[in-house]
């Protein structure tokens, strides 16, 4: 198996993420964490992957109309590709600032939408790409190396 860049993929999993389903929110990240633990990866790496996946999943739950998270395990990396259909992000620079959030009051009252999601993903990732089209959706690509990056 090889991905679009021609890199060998050892294993691939896909999780569906439903919009506004706060009961199941976090399940995809939890399943991914368990999978990585079963594969015996470094605990610090698993931690970063779990945090990135969780925040990405929560963004899809809170802001989009639903999406998918596809995770590829390659010999050197964990690739998390999170795609949603939704309103998209008009100003990505702004969205990446700590504390910036467009979450509604209702969402904030639930303890989410503190504006730390994207900054946390960026901090956890070794490589981080975000593309967004207003009115269509957002695609997030996070790469985490198996060997501790820092």
């Amino acid at each position: 198996m090889a991905d679009i860049r021609g890199v060998e993929t050892l294993m691939s999993v896909t999780y569906d993420i439903a919009a506004r389903d706060f009961v199941r929110a976090g399940e995809a990240a939890n399943k991914l964490k368990r999978l990585l633990q079963q594969l015996g990866l470094d605990p610090a790496v698993i931690r970063r992957a779990a945090i990135a996946a969780y925040e990405a999943e929560m963004n899809v739950v809170i802001h989009s109309y639903g999406g998918q998270m596809k995770v590829d395990i390659t010999p050197e990396t964990i690739e998390i590709l999170c795609q949603d259909s939704g309103p998209g992000i008009p100003d990505i620079e702004q969205a990446l600032q700590e504390g910036y959030s467009t979450a509604s009051e209702e969402i904030r009252e639930m303890g989410f939408g503190a504006g730390m999601g994207l900054p946390n993903i960026q901090r956890s990732a070794d490589q981080f790409q975000i593309e967004s089209t207003v009115g269509q959706g957002t695609t997030l690509h996070v790469t985490i190396l198996h060997e501790a990056g820092e």
Partner: protein, 468 residues
């Protein structure tokens, strides 16, 4: 590998193989095989949930007995704060409880509650010195082991500080060596323990080599002996030293209040602790400075080796601490500050992960097993009934992949197998060889049956021999 000591053990003769325990075990460490439960050594964290759950009392805690006291020239009792919670009554005081301990055979007492005050301040100093958030308490040994096996990525969050009982043993022995001129080996320090996890922690410490504690005697054992002397025990000035802060460590929220950093919380009950740890793994709770985690509901008063109901114990502790000073002695604070600099409270070695989750040491083998695991999970009914002896379908699938179980262990898979076998048999039975017709076979069958009947019954017929 060094074999693990476990306080929690199975009594096979009491075990009915009922599978109740396998579901409650927080690390999925029990399997029922050949009609008996088995505890998987690598997974067990000695929390004692199975002792609490087993309706047949087939799980018990191995601990030390009173006879161990005879091996030492001088003995000191280290009562856990939760030990006090076993007693109540209008005239009950901690001083009387301590006096009773002297009467049943100990030469001295040293309150673990006093050491808990030291540890509270040491944890606070540690929190102030680190940027890790949240810091998780390492005082409950079942939680330390839970994190080692199920949450290895959170090991860095554990406060690398000795538990109160270890500090108590050191403080007590140093004091006795100084005051009585005894050698360290001559003094036996015995913890009066509310739980099996502490027994294990003393026999097999994590984060340091040898414990200063020489034995752990269950609260239940000491309680039985105390009952005879307690009614006559009198208040003895000077015995009771600890403040309410130290004594409250015996129940949930006590530690967190004594540590007293600005943003803190307490979680009790191992399944609730697991929920919180899972959230911490996802990056939550980073705005909290300190989390007290207790495996038992209600904290140590809910320990599996206590006598009183946890809620009653909680109330008893409230009553017993009512008249105690609500402040830690300033002298102790100065002592802690001095000893902190010496590293007195710090663990000596790193806490190592002991992950039970990984399928294989080799990544590509692990991936192969993972793929087989996913296929196996799909094949199983997903009812998590436990009839196979594994706690869930997922766990059975893991056992199958690791070669510890087979698909036929699942009663539903077995039933499907039997059903298709039966259908196959029926199919075979209805097939008739081409050389004979349907009619022939049915008449032959009838003849055969008649013939057999005659043959079988003729010798038994009465009077048959006399026929001409």
């Amino acid at each position: 590998m060094q074999p693990y000591f476990h306080s929690v053990t199975l009594e096979p003769e009491n075990c009915k193989g009922c599978t109740i325990c396998i579901k409650r075990c927080p690390t999925e460490a029990i399997r029922v095989r050949n009609g008996k439960a088995r505890i998987l050594e690598l997974r067990c964290i000695d929390c004692g949930e199975c002792i609490r759950t087993c309706p047949n009392h087939a799980k018990r805690a191995i601990a030390d007995d009173f006879s161990l006291l005879d091996k030492y020239k001088y003995t000191v009792a280290l009562p856990a704060p939760s030990f006090y919670a076993q007693f109540s009554g209008q005239d009950m005081t901690i001083s009387r409880i301590l006096q009773s301990l002297l009467q049943i055979g100990f030469n001295a007492v040293f309150e673990v509650a006093e050491a808990a005050e030291h540890v509270s301040m040491a944890i606070r100093r540690y929190i102030e010195s680190t940027s890790i958030r949240p810091v998780i308490s390492s005082a409950c040994p079942a939680i330390v082991r839970l994190i080692q096996v199920r949450f290895p990525d959170l090991i860095d969050h554990l406060a690398p500080i000795h538990a109160p009982v270890d500090i108590a043993a050191r403080l007590a022995k140093e004091k006795l060596m100084r005051k009585m001129g005894l050698e360290r080996e001559e003094i036996g320090a015995f913890f009066i323990t509310p739980c099996p996890a502490k027994v294990t922690a003393i026999k097999q410490p994590i984060g340091f080599q040898n414990s200063w504690v020489d034995g752990a005697i269950p609260v239940t054992t000491v309680y039985a002996r105390m009952l005879k002397v307690l009614p006559y025990a009198e208040d003895t000035p000077g015995l009771q030293q600890a403040s309410a802060f130290g004594v409250q460590w015996g129940r949930a929220t006590g530690e967190e209040k004594a540590v007293s950093v600005p943003r803190r919380l307490a979680v009790d009950g191992i399944h609730s602790v697991i929920e919180v740890l899972e959230e911490i793994e996802m990056g939550k709770f980073h705005d909290i400075d300190f989390i007290e985690c207790q495996a038992c509901r209600g904290g140590c008063v809910g320990g599996p080796l206590t006598v009183q109901n946890a809620f009653r114990g909680w109330a008893n502790l409230e009553e017993l601490t009512k008249n105690l000073p609500g402040e830690i002695d300033p002298g102790i604070e100065r002592e802690v500050n001095r000893r902190w600099e010496e590293g007195f409270y710090s663990l000596e070695t790193k806490i190592e992960p002991r992950s039970i989750l990984k399928l294989d040491d080799d990544l590509s083998r692990a991936i192969e097993k993972m793929e087989l695991l996913e296929k196996t999970v799909e094949f199983l009914p997903g009812l998590d009934c436990g009839s196979c002896g594994s706690p869930s379908c997922q766990a059975l699938a893991e056992d199958i992949v690791q070669g510890l179980a087979s698909e036929g262990d699942c009663v539903f898979v077995l039933r499907d197998g039997v059903q298709s076998l039966a259908e196959e048999l029926l199919e075979l039975a209805s097939q008739v060889p081409g050389s004979i017709s349907d009619r022939e076979t049915s008449s032959k069958k009838t003849r055969l049956r008649v013939g057999e009947k005659n043959k079988g019954s003729s010798p038994a017929r009465p009077g048959a021999g006399r026929q001409p």
